[in-house]
């Protein structure tokens, strides 16, 4: 796919990710987050028909569920006691907080997994190598690191089983010990590989002087418009949070999940901001359709 959102200027793309993360983290309201997740799933789908999402989905769901469950078990503050579990009160406030935690994690991750698909390493270096060459390098290594880590962990667990080390069996203590050893080794390994990649970058002169550019990225009118659009929306979002409209109040009383008054405006703006890539892609899709009909 070589149209739509990802053809915009790299600065626009990175700005989107930054503003979207800000919007998600300040609008911590179940309804906001729920629609954010829906929009981001559609965004994922529009990029590669959900291929990347599928490979992550189980892990993300599991972790989000864990986050959702852990809060009511650990946090007992709140006035509305739902029931008692092992003599500990489970409160409505804690459950809602858990839900928000799980949703926030899911939303941020859904956004994050699209990043390497949209901002290729080359675009990333274009933006950051001039200003922060060292950070550019670290970020490049980190991006490589994530998928490798997952593949290797699986491989390592499997191979260790042939040696009689099974982290799914044995006493809890033993399992934990072996598990920690495995992850520790994996980290060392990834760092070691990272050094090799860094060597390869240094060997080819990364950071010795100002980089030139093979793809001359230029700011077009739509890039500038997009930047202004996002800037405007995020200003409204931030001021909304300041007024307390996107924030879900949990104490002293649990607020209703449904929105009222001004909140609907902030909700709409939040959706516009998070769903911005979809707007761009849909617009271009419509243009193609129109162009084809004209022929």
């Amino acid at each position: 796919m070589n149209y739509g959102f990802r053809t915009l200027h790299p600065l626009v793309l990175v700005t989107y990710y930054i503003t979207a993360v800000i919007a998600i983290t300040i609008n911590r309201h179940p309804l906001f987050l729920f629609f954010t997740i829906l929009l981001l799933i559609i965004f994922n789908w529009s990029i590669d028909k959900g291929k990347t999402l599928k490979s992550w989905f189980r892990f993300l769901l599991l972790f989000a569920l864990l986050l959702f469950l852990i809060n009511p078990l650990v946090n007992h503050r709140g006035q509305h006691i739902l029931f008692y579990l092992f003599n500990n009160p489970v409160t409505l406030e804690a459950v809602v907080q858990g839900l928000i935690n799980g949703f926030t994690f899911l939303a941020v991750m859904l956004l994050f997994i699209t990043f390497p698909l949209i901002v290729h390493s080359e675009k990333f270096l274009f933006l950051f190598s001039k200003v922060f060459p060292k950070w550019g390098l670290v970020a490049m290594l980190a991006v490589r690191f994530v998928p490798l880590f997952r593949i290797r962990l699986q491989e390592m667990v499997a191979v260790q089983r042939t040696q009689g080390i099974n982290i799914a069996r044995g006493t809890m203590r033993q399992r934990l010990k072996n598990g920690i050893k495995l992850v520790q080794m994996l980290l060392t390994w990834s760092l070691e590989d990272g050094i090799e990649t860094a060597d390869s970058m240094a060997a080819r002169g990364y950071g010795i002087q100002k980089r030139s550019q093979y793809n001359p990225y230029q700011m077009h009118a739509e890039d500038i418009f997009s930047l202004l659009f996002m800037a405007g929306l995020s200003v409204i979002t931030i001021s909304g949070a300041w007024l307390g409209d996107g924030v879900f109040v949990r104490s002293p009383v649990v607020e209703l999940v449904f929105l009222y008054g001004w909140e609907w405006l902030f909700f709409a703006i939040h959706c516009l901001l998070v769903g911005f890539p979809l707007i761009v892609t849909a617009k271009e899709e419509a243009q193609w359709l129109y162009w084809k009909q004209k022929m």
Binding site: P116, H120, S121, E122, L125, M140, R152, E155, M156, A158, V159, Q160, R161, T162, Q163, G164, I165, N178, K181, L182, Q184, M185, T188, W189, E192, D193, E196, T197, D199, S200, M201, A202, A203, R204, G205, Y206, G207, I208, Q209, K210, R211, S212, Q213, Y214, P216
Partner: protein, 553 residues
């Protein structure tokens, strides 16, 4: 004036008593092709890295490294980065960007070349390397050989005058390795780029290079042109160094009639010319007794289908294979034909979508520690402790009952790795780690041994010792299945060979017959002796068995 010169270079890593390199003096002329060989851990890679100062190891360095007559460290960084290029062993780790085109231009962009110049050069090089169809592909979709070609192209685009290659073909299959070497040769001959290459496998490299250096324990022990070195090795009877020589040369040294009538053959063509002069009488070999095929096979692989993804291609496609007890089976074939996956299925690490694996008629469910031992392609996967000593200690402790400590000591000595016990597993060279991984799977007697590329990174002498050891184990009744790219190794030590293609076994037969039928997947000695006046053989050992020199023509 030499392009590069080192004068009495001695280098010691921090916290080490013994220097990694001692008094290394060598010169490289413009356009020269130099090969550095030597046992693993002898300091070859260290030397190479010292010549590339952007990534030079930290430590104590004495002596001088001159580039174009000037000390290397006084030369402008931009100039040295551009002019001295380097390719590493692992095709994967040295890739930085996520698309092929971006990877190619990475170095040029760092050097600040202007857009127009870059575009022109990319167009030119993509065509030269035959990778223009790959330019917009995500880099992780490429095969190992393609990745290494991309790495090479990316460095060449920076227009180096000297190229340093650190075992660049160690991870590639034989066809990809040959393609890569062919490209290196072309670069050397057509652009006059000087090359220093560290390499164990001399068979394909020696005919290409101008000069060769052998480094042992940090010192240069031999230097000269290939033929000269071969002759010196023969004269000095340095028997352990014999294994480094290409097989064609070893055959020549064994059967050459009168000395110095003919120079040492290095290529198959030269070998065939020489063999015409030889007159050999065949000795009738006693027929090897064939195992009783009516007996039930020890391992049966039945109609296995395996794929990672519903819409993806089938990695294994209705594969059938039966293996008898006490057999040493080698599985060969190009990268991506499913060899490693098959081994994982037999090890119980992956469960097939269709079909089953039977051990003595019983269906395999999951790994069988203590019975089936598996050496993964990447030896790092076996290590989870901070030092090698701890790892081995934990392994010994896991063996309930008999105490394998004595055996362990023997093995450490056999593989010559006693000095590394207190190091972190990732702190030693790839060859050393491979040896330790082999020790880990061989320490206790398993009934089945599954080896994925056991010879990777091993120097020729160690390979020979490993081969002998495996044969001994086989004689004691162990069943060995090995996946390998190393055809010479498979031909010399395995008892049966299978070829995989597109997820199935397309050919399987006794090793000797197997290689005789192949054009490419065969040994150099087989190619020399095929359709000649001498009896066809595949290995030197076979020639020793069945050839008898006639006194005179």
């Amino acid at each position: 004036m030499a392009l590069l010169e080192t004068k009495n270079v001695t280098f010691t890593y921090p916290n080490e008593k013994k220097p990694a390199l001692q008094n290394i003096s060598l010169t490289v002329n413009r356009g020269e092709f130099l090969v550095i060989a030597g046992p693993s851990g002898s300091g070859k890679s260290t030397l190479l890295r010292l010549l590339k100062q952007e990534i030079a190891p930290v430590g104590e360095l004495s002596g001088e490294i001159l580039y174009n007559g000037k000390p290397l460290h006084t030369i402008d960084r931009i100039k040295t980065t551009k002019e001295i290029g380097m390719i590493f062993q692992d095709p994967e780790n040295q890739l930085v960007m996520d698309r092929v085109l971006d990877e190619l231009i990475f170095g040029m962009e760092n050097l600040g070349m202007d857009t127009l110049q870059m575009r022109k050069k990319v167009a030119e090089f993509a065509h030269f390397f035959g990778i223009h169809s790959l330019l917009n592909k995500p880099i992780h979709e490429l095969s190992g050989g393609q990745k290494q070609l991309v790495n090479l192209a990316s460095v060449l685009l920076m227009e180096p005058t000297l190229l340093l290659l650190d075992e660049p073909t160690a991870q590639l299959d034989p066809v990809a390795a040959k393609d890569f070497l062919h490209m290196v040769d072309m670069i050397n001959k057509e652009f006059g780029i000087a090359i220093i290459m560290v390499e164990h496998h001399l068979d394909h490299v020696l005919p290409l290079c101008d000069r060769m250096i052998v480094i042992e324990q940090g010192k240069i022990s031999l230097e000269g042109n290939p033929r000269h070195i071969i002759e010196t090795i023969q004269k000095h009877e340095q028997s352990h160094f014999h294994y480094y020589l290409p097989n064609i040369a070893r055959l020549f040294l064994t059967y050459q009639e009168e000395k110095s009538t003919c120079s040492v053959p290095l290529t198959v063509r030269e070998g065939r010319e020489w063999i015409q002069q030889l007159s050999v009488l065949p000795i009738d070999e006693p027929q090897i007794e064939h195992r009783n095929d009516s007996q039930r096979p020890f391992i049966e692989v039945k109609n296995i289908v395996f794929q990672y993804d519903k819409n993806g291609e089938k990695i294994l496609d209705h594969l059938n294979l039966s293996i008898h007890e006490g057999e040493f089976l080698a599985i060969v074939g190009a990268n991506g034909t499913g060899k490693s996956t098959l081994l994982k299925v037999i090890a119980g690490l992956e469960s097939p979508i269709k079909g089953k694996v039977l051990y003595q008629g019983r269906k395999l469910k999951g790994p069988q520690p203590g019975v089936v031992h598996y050496l993964p392609q990447n030896p790092k996967l076996l290590f989870i402790h901070d030092t090698i000593r701890e790892e081995l200690e934990a392994l010994v402790e896991r063996q309930k009952g008999n105490d394998p400590r004595e055996r362990l000591q023997e093995m450490l000595q056999f593989f010559n790795v006693e000095d590394f016990l207190d190091r972190h597993p990732f702190d030693i060279s790839g060859g050393e780690l491979q040896k330790l991984a082999i020790i880990m799977v061989l320490l206790t007697d398993a009934r089945v041994l599954l080896l994925d590329e056991p010879t990777k990174g091993l120097d020729p002498e160690m390979k020979h010792r490993l081969g002998k050891l495996l044969q001994q184990l086989q004689k004691r009744g162990m069943t060995i299945i090995m996946v390998t790219h190393d055809l010479e190794f498979a031909a010399a030590y395995s008892s049966r060979c299978a070829m995989m293609f597109q997820g199935t076994v397309t050919a399987i037969s006794d090793s000797q017959d197997f290689f005789r039928g192949n054009t490419f997947y065969t040994t150099a000695i087989n190619r020399i002796t095929r359709n000649t006046n001498v009896p066809e053989v595949t290995t030197l050992e076979e020639a020793r068995r069945v050839w008898k020199l006639a006194k005179n023509h």
